[in-house]
Point group: C2
Chain length 508, copies 2
């Protein structure tokens, strides 16, 4: 073997090793999906053992010395000269992962996996009982382990940085804080104008009785219409909606249904289907390699938000879909005019539950979580004091106070699963979505007309070719510039919202 052949052979070995690790990771994903949709209540402890066993195996494979050897060998090779080539992408991403993982002790990784599995069971029970006290010990242990994790990874200014980096590679806590500040500053006058209007919708049409079976059928039909492939996916029921990928052709969505809330299930189905379209659009042949992974959670969220909001809450979408909605829910929508329904879909009202929040107030929910989880990690807030801090911030930012923990601090699954640093990616997703949508509208010409006619393929193909097909070839910030010609900015989002809500709320 000459030098070039030896490098090619090392690259092949690295890829084969990574693909086999991905097989085990996909099994981990199945354990987690089953946890959240199927697991009998008494089965939690053994499931935690299973999850910890697999997490340990995956961690050992990811940090195996031979991986370091292959990466070192390839580091300065011509194969990876172009960082955006296949090999350049694979090696760059795997090196980043390898270096982070090598810093984590295997026992800590196993502890976190075990606690995450158990934590979600405890959280679900605590939420049901609306009793933060049941959840507190698990939360305290999780914060402690996440601080240990941050310390092991290393950081300059805040333990939040290395955790955020897991979800939004290369983005610093201070940058997120700056973007959110800027967003909130622009948002405040718009929100005030909306709340001051006495000509807005009251949202009552969406609180009529919508039969659960019909909701499920209607939601699945909408997901199918925008392009989600149910021969390679499913839709199930869970406490907190999510999307997970168990294989190149196995993408699973979940939602929850309430008879008196049409929007809860419908928009979460569109949202999760948006995630699912990204996953189904990643290059299947590279499954198991970074080439077939989303580049960041913010970009992932931009795909769900775009379909949920820019499309799913738009006038043209409902102009097209409203007749089908009337047929699906003949009693709830008897005598209802399109314009009233569309305005109710876009009602703005400060509220308690993040996943129910409207487009405008949503980012304030994120701001609260971002500040609280930073404070927990930076030891400025004790876990026992979290409910009081939560309620105070809701009062200050949104003018509402949770009457109980279930509608307050226990509403989200994330912290129970050890996901700290995850929340801000939702806000970044909103901004990326608006920026992508503006560009797509420019490129596609009559996007609104296409949406009105139910022609979603042009937009999906635009997203496929410009975003999905690249996997993690470009970091989020490179991708945004590449696709839109501009760096990340809150302006497109603010402009779209200002235009839309001037119409919905008849602002002058």
């Amino acid at each position: 073997m000459n030098a070039a052949e030896r490098l090619a052979s090392s690259y092949e070995a690295l890829c084969a090793h990574t693909r086999e690790t991905a097989l085990l990771q996909s099994v981990q994903a199945l354990l987690e999906w089953d946890d959240r949709t199927q697991l009998p209540t008494a089965a939690g402890p053994y499931r935690a053992e299973q999850a910890a066993c697999l997490a340990g195996m995956v961690h050992r494979r990811q940090t195996a010395p031979e991986v370091g050897g292959w990466l070192d060998e390839l580091a300065a090779s011509p194969l990876v000269e172009d960082p955006h080539s296949d090999a350049g992408t694979v090696v760059r991403r795997l090196r980043r992962e390898y270096e982070k993982k090598r810093r984590l002790p295997p026992t800590l990784v196993e502890q976190l996996a075990r606690l995450s599995a158990r934590g979600q069971q405890v959280w679900a029970a605590a939420r049901k009982a609306s009793d933060f006290g049941q959840f507190l010990p698990v939360l305290a242990e999780t914060v402690d382990l996440k601080r240990q994790e941050a310390a092991a990874l290393g950081f300059a200014t805040t333990p939040y940085d290395p955790l955020l980096d897991d979800y939004e590679p290369g983005t610093a806590t201070t940058e997120v804080a700056a973007v959110l500040d800027s967003l909130v500053a622009s948002l405040r006058p718009l929100l005030q104008a909306i709340l001051a209007s006495d000509r807005g919708p009251d949202g009552r049409l969406l609180a009529r009785r919508y039969a659960l079976d019909a909701q499920r059928e209607f939601g699945m039909a909408a997901a199918r219409a925008i392009g989600f492939d149910f021969s390679a996916g499913r839709l199930d029921v869970t406490d907190h909606p999510f999307c997970t990928t168990l294989g190149p052709r196995d993408v699973r969505l979940t939602t929850r249904y309430r008879e008196d809330d049409f929007g809860d299930a419908f928009f979460s189905i569109l949202h999760e289907a948006g995630h699912g379209l990204y996953e189904q659009g990643l290059p299947a042949a590279s499954f198991g390699l970074p080439l077939s992974l989303a580049t960041s959670l913010g970009i992932h969220e931009s795909q769900s938000r775009l379909w949920e909001n820019q499309i799913g809450r738009s006038r043209s979408f409902w102009e097209g879909l409203f007749p089908a909605a009337r047929a699906a829910f003949p009693e709830a929508l008897r005598g209802v005019e399109f314009a009233a329904f569309y305005r109710d879909v876009n009602r703005v009202a400060p509220s308690l539950i993040r996943v129910d929040a409207d487009e405008i107030t949503y980012n304030l929910h994120i701001g609260i979580r971002f500040e609280l989880e930073r404070a927990l990690l930076e030891d400025d807030l004790q876990p026992a004091d979290l409910p009081a801090a939560w309620n105070a911030k809701y009062d200050a930012y949104l003018g509402v106070v949770p009457p109980d923990d279930a509608q307050g601090v226990l509403q989200d699954v994330h912290w129970s699963a050890g996901l700290f640093g995850y929340f801000p990616t939702y806000a970044l997703g909103n901004l990326y979505a608006a920026q992508f949508y503006a560009q797509a509208a420019e490129d596609l010409g009559d996007l609104e007309g296409q949406v009105r006619r139910g022609e979603f393929q042009p937009l999906l193909q635009w997203l496929r070719s410009r975003i999905h097909a690249h996997g993690s070839r470009y970091e989020a910030r490179e991708l945004v510039e590449r696709v839109t010609g501009r760096p990340l900015s809150e302006r497109p989002w603010i402009e779209q919202m200002t235009r839309k809500y001037a119409d919905v709320y008849r602002l002058d």
Copy 2:
């Protein structure tokens, strides 16, 4: 360390290793359960890769040289002097497994796992299309691999022996053939008398319209009543009903529902719940060790059959449950008399589908499969000729001929999953069940009265203490002698059936 301490330490190491292997096996079981209840159609190929990866890992752990070392060291130790002690049981069972597995090449194990996952997908599609041709290539490959497996394991007279031994340890093919012959010989005059009677039930009451949701509720209530713990289990929908264990407190049952067939779902739920009660009764603290494993599939089947037939199709069971059935299905059972319903539950009619078969003809379905799968393995029958052979035997034994493959050779999942040697354990289960039931009735006094009053705990506790609690401490044949004082015999079954059907069919 002295010699005794060293032995104790080796035993601990062997147990820890075995329990960790069991963690991976329980994950395999989850993959399989998901395959059969949840998997999107396009997801099959990657699922097969996942299954093969885990099968390879489990096989490597089961055949690791250190296992052989521990077993050799423990072989002649005082710890295992009593073969029915904890250590005696663990070492005996693990040695048997180790020796069998060591004879199988890892590549063959992985091929079988991959083919099993794919085979079940292909089978489900072929069955839906009622097209044996779609299934033939997979079947031919499976038979070939199973013959390779038998050759690797070694056998004296027939390749069927080492495969049967996987399910019914220590029982030879010739013994099964002898028991089935004897059973069929005793059964023939009874069946003739039944079919000659013109005073039997016609079964039409069970073919009325039974709402699916109500069937599910009623079936779950019955499973709960006999003692199945749904906080440590589930009931889902699948093509072919089964029971699987994913953890010490995670036992999953499946069934299927037909609106015009009350018995199909109800008796399969009782049947699978019977399996589930055995699994839930195994000692949880020993989960992962042979102490917490069923001793044979025949014994497992005896538990499902006892609850399905000896209890579930008895007069006293329905005397107790009939009022609830009328409340659950007010339209289907309006004006229906208890006696007519009870007799319809026990209608005997030679038919095409094994899982729908009555108690009397059921064993003939098994006889056919036993002969055909032996012939396939012994190369006396080519896979392509299987449908014709199947149809000829149904005509000869039962006087019925399948009109298509879906109702014939494609009806069961077993062969698609590589389960050869499994079918006869169903017939053994029938015989064990009758023998256990006769003994329980003797020990418990008023068993029929208890059943009539819905008091299932005495029987369940009897089964728990005499059978479930022992796991695989005793081989099936030892267990039967221990519990009933007699070796396996078809007599109790024949006696029970003769008495019951003389009543149902008013034989003189």
